[in-house]
């Protein structure tokens, strides 16, 4: 009888503990983009569930669809998502509006100080971190070592634009379908718009002066666009005006580009022998400059943020701590190898000897460190951001401006006409928004 009572008590205690565990377990809905790193994380979510009891529902969307979807939800306080994947453009704007939960109370074990300063800076507002970087990227030169050698040239670690233009023309072989250089020309603020803005920084151009006046009527912008169009006409692929990241990746992997300046995350694609025909012939260098003290590389991060008002804030923070931790990096390294860990977020990753052996690791870090979103232009500017200006109006304006530029690349109008239209539409939009 006594034993029976003890058994009942023990059973009750166990049942109570189990009930409390179930009661505290949450189901998180996370909106994210479709790329290799994010999909890999989805596959490893069981590890998070095993550690915390929380389950995860993923909403994976194409980047532009995701941006529209999460913007609608956060501006209406819809509450459809507990965690959102957002970038460096949205984070400071949304943080300043009070739409995101500050991430200033993450655990000591998480070691927030280990986040690369450039990433932490770009994902903060007034010194408060509002999104934790899952992975970060800059841009750099990826080039064919064999073609460079055949052209009798040697790529410096930090080349100038004049060297790049000369090398591009030397490497071009139209009969062999080899283009000396492949660059983004596709319309869209995150596509060709991002590239040309980052490039213009190194030519001394800027989007706005300190009174928010558009600067497309300056010599620096004219030099940037004319240099770009002349180089691409001589050494770029046909139809480059519609090429974005994917089109150039495809060309490079098939051996049809001598050089490609684009996101550092592309390094793992072009060196993967399963997909790339030139995997063992790729070298890396910093994005070019013009000797003005600013290089033409950008800075970006896909980061995880918690919308203010979510009912599952504690569980959401647990997830963010798991997904952006050094523990997660170790987990990916163990399951998929060091070349596949999410790059560009933590300092300690680049101190790890195993990761240092990855061929593009150091150049990725150097590229990230050389981009400063707070001082991205030669002359002072009123905005934060390298390949964008972190103001809500920028995405709309830059999309229109990049459409004008793409029309010039395609030969539908002259560079001067494109710049004139860009100047007018930017000033009109800024005036309507109350900046001028």
């Amino acid at each position: 009888m006594k034993t029976n009572l003890k058994s009942k008590i023990a059973l009750g205690v166990v049942a109570g503990l189990a009930m409390s565990a179930v009661a505290s377990a949450e189901e998180l809905t996370i909106a994210t983009v479709n790329n290799g790193d994010m999909i890999r994380m989805q596959g490893l979510t069981d590890d998070f569930t095993a550690k915390t009891g929380h389950t995860v529902e993923w909403v994976t969307l194409e980047e532009n669809v995701l941006r529209q979807r999460v913007t609608t939800d956060i501006t209406t306080k819809g509450g459809a998502f507990d965690i959102m994947t957002i970038g460096m453009y949205e984070t400071p704007i949304w943080g300043s509006n009070g739409w995101l939960v500050p991430l200033d109370d993450l655990s000591e074990e998480y070691n927030a100080a280990d986040i690369l300063p450039a990433m932490a800076g770009g994902l903060s507002h007034d010194g408060t971190l509002f999104a934790a970087p899952f992975y970060g990227e800059s841009s750099m030169i990826m080039y064919r070592t064999d073609l460079m050698e055949a052209a009798g040239m040697e790529m410096p670690d930090a080349p100038s634009w004049s060297f790049i233009a000369k090398a591009a023309r030397a490497m071009t072989d139209r009969d062999a379908e080899i283009n000396g250089i492949c660059l983004r020309g596709k319309a869209g603020w995150g596509e060709g718009g991002a590239f040309i803005t980052a490039m213009s920084n190194s030519f001394g151009a800027r989007w706005f002066d300190e009174e928010w006046n558009a600067q497309f009527d300056t010599r620096e912008w004219s030099d940037t666009l004319n240099f770009f169009v002349n180089m691409m006409t001589d050494a770029g692929p046909a139809g480059y005006a519609t090429n974005g990241f994917n089109e150039n990746l495809s060309l490079f992997q098939q051996g049809k580009c001598g050089m490609w300046i684009d996101a550092t995350v592309a390094a793992s694609f072009v060196t993967n022998p399963d997909d790339s025909t030139v995997a063992d012939k790729v070298g890396f260098a910093l994005a070019p400059d013009n000797g003005l003290g600013v290089r033409s590389n950008w800075l970006w991060a896909w980061a995880l943020a918690i919308p203010a008002g979510t009912q599952k804030e504690a569980a959401a923070k647990e997830f963010i701590e798991w997904a952006t931790s050094t523990g997660y990096i170790d987990l990916v390294a163990e399951k998929e190898g060091w070349a596949n860990v999410p790059p560009g977020a933590r300092t300690s990753l680049y101190e790890n000897p195993d990761y240092q052996a990855v061929p593009f690791a150091q150049m990725t870090l150097d590229s990230i460190l050389s981009a400063d979103p707070n001082n991205s232009t030669v002359d002072p500017s009123p905005y934060v951001g390298v390949q964008f200006a972190a103001i809500p109006e920028f995405a709309g304006i830059a999309t229109e401006v990049s459409q004008e530029f793409s029309a010039a690349y395609a030969g539908q109008q002259t560079v001067a006409e494109a710049l004139e239209k860009a100047q007018a539409l930017t000033n009109d939009a800024m005036e309507a928004a109350g900046y001028r």
């Binding site: 479709n34 790329n35 209406t76 819809g78």
Partner: protein
């Protein structure tokens, strides 16, 4: 001689029709072919048409990553529910407009059609806020109602056109025989207009199945249909065309089969009207 000319013309017409048909079908065929390639083969230049190593790896990858059946079930419920609800409301509306028109009927029909010209994004925020208030966000019920409303002008217009073909005298005769309004619509009008109603149902089911703006913007994880399933495989930073093609093929397969088996009714209803 005349016969030879006719045969030549027939041959030419057949060739032209097949060419146009193949041209229209080619993007779907290319999507299906790409779904059986590796990612490297999918971007090969020159493109590979039939001679490549066929693989099912993309379908396996999609199955492993996504819960296809949940997306499919949501699509069936949302497309089927919105079509059914739409027809239940539109049949009496079209009946009244066709057989007891007022002097404003034409204006109402034109006004209904004009709502289709409004860019959907223009009303996204009001509808999103209403959905939040009513707790309809990420629910199948909410999407059934929205898709029913956006397709309503097309349903009413199509049914109105078919009903206009039916002689009003037949309905009057049924009334003289003592039929109530309900009996008149259910037992006299509906059977005569069945081909028209069937083609309306099919067309609206296809429209609802393919609708991608509202189904992407008003859902998250629970009510997302196959349009969201496809969107989850699209990426501007990474070459996943083969997987995207596999996901697209899986998403369009059910509606493609439905269209194939019902093409006779669909074409008859769309081209000849209800009682011709």
């Amino acid at each position: 001689m005349a016969r030879a000319v006719t045969n030549t013309r027939k041959t030419v017409n057949t060739v032209i029709a097949w060419s146009i048909g193949l041209l229209i079908f080619f993007p779907i065929l290319w999507t299906i072919l790409t779904s059986f390639k590796t990612e490297a083969q999918a971007i090969n230049d020159p493109p590979l048409f039939l001679f490549f190593d066929w693989t099912l790896e993309n379908y396996a990858a999609v199955q492993e990553r996504s819960n296809y059946m949940r997306f499919l079930w949501n699509s069936i419920i949302i497309a089927g529910g919105s079509t059914l609800l739409g027809v239940i409301i539109a049949v009496p509306a079209a009946w009244s407009m066709a057989f007891v028109p007022s002097k404003r009927t034409k204006d109402i029909l034109l006004w209904m059609l004009s709502t289709k010209m409004l860019p959907a994004v223009g009303v996204l925020y009001p509808i999103y806020l209403i959905f939040i208030q009513l707790g309809l966000l990420d629910t199948r019920v909410g999407l059934v109602v929205v898709l029913m409303l956006i397709n309503m002008p097309i349903i009413v217009w199509m049914l109105y056109t078919y009903f206009r073909e039916i002689p009003v005298e037949i309905l009057e005769a049924s009334r003289m025989d003592g039929a109530s309004l309900r009996d008149e619509i259910l037992y006299v009008l509906a059977p005569m207009a069945l081909p028209g109603i069937a083609s309306t149902v099919l067309l609206n089911f296809i429209l609802a199945w393919n609708e991608a703006f509202w189904t992407l913007n008003l859902t998250a994880a629970k009510a997302a249909p196959l349009t969201a399933f496809i969107a989850s495989y699209s990426s501007p930073e990474g070459l996943f065309f083969a997987k995207l093609s596999a996901a697209s093929t899986m998403a369009i397969a059910p509606i493609l089969l439905l269209g194939w088996f019902s093409q006779k009714q669909l074409v008859r209803g769309l081209t000849f009207g209800a009682v011709k």
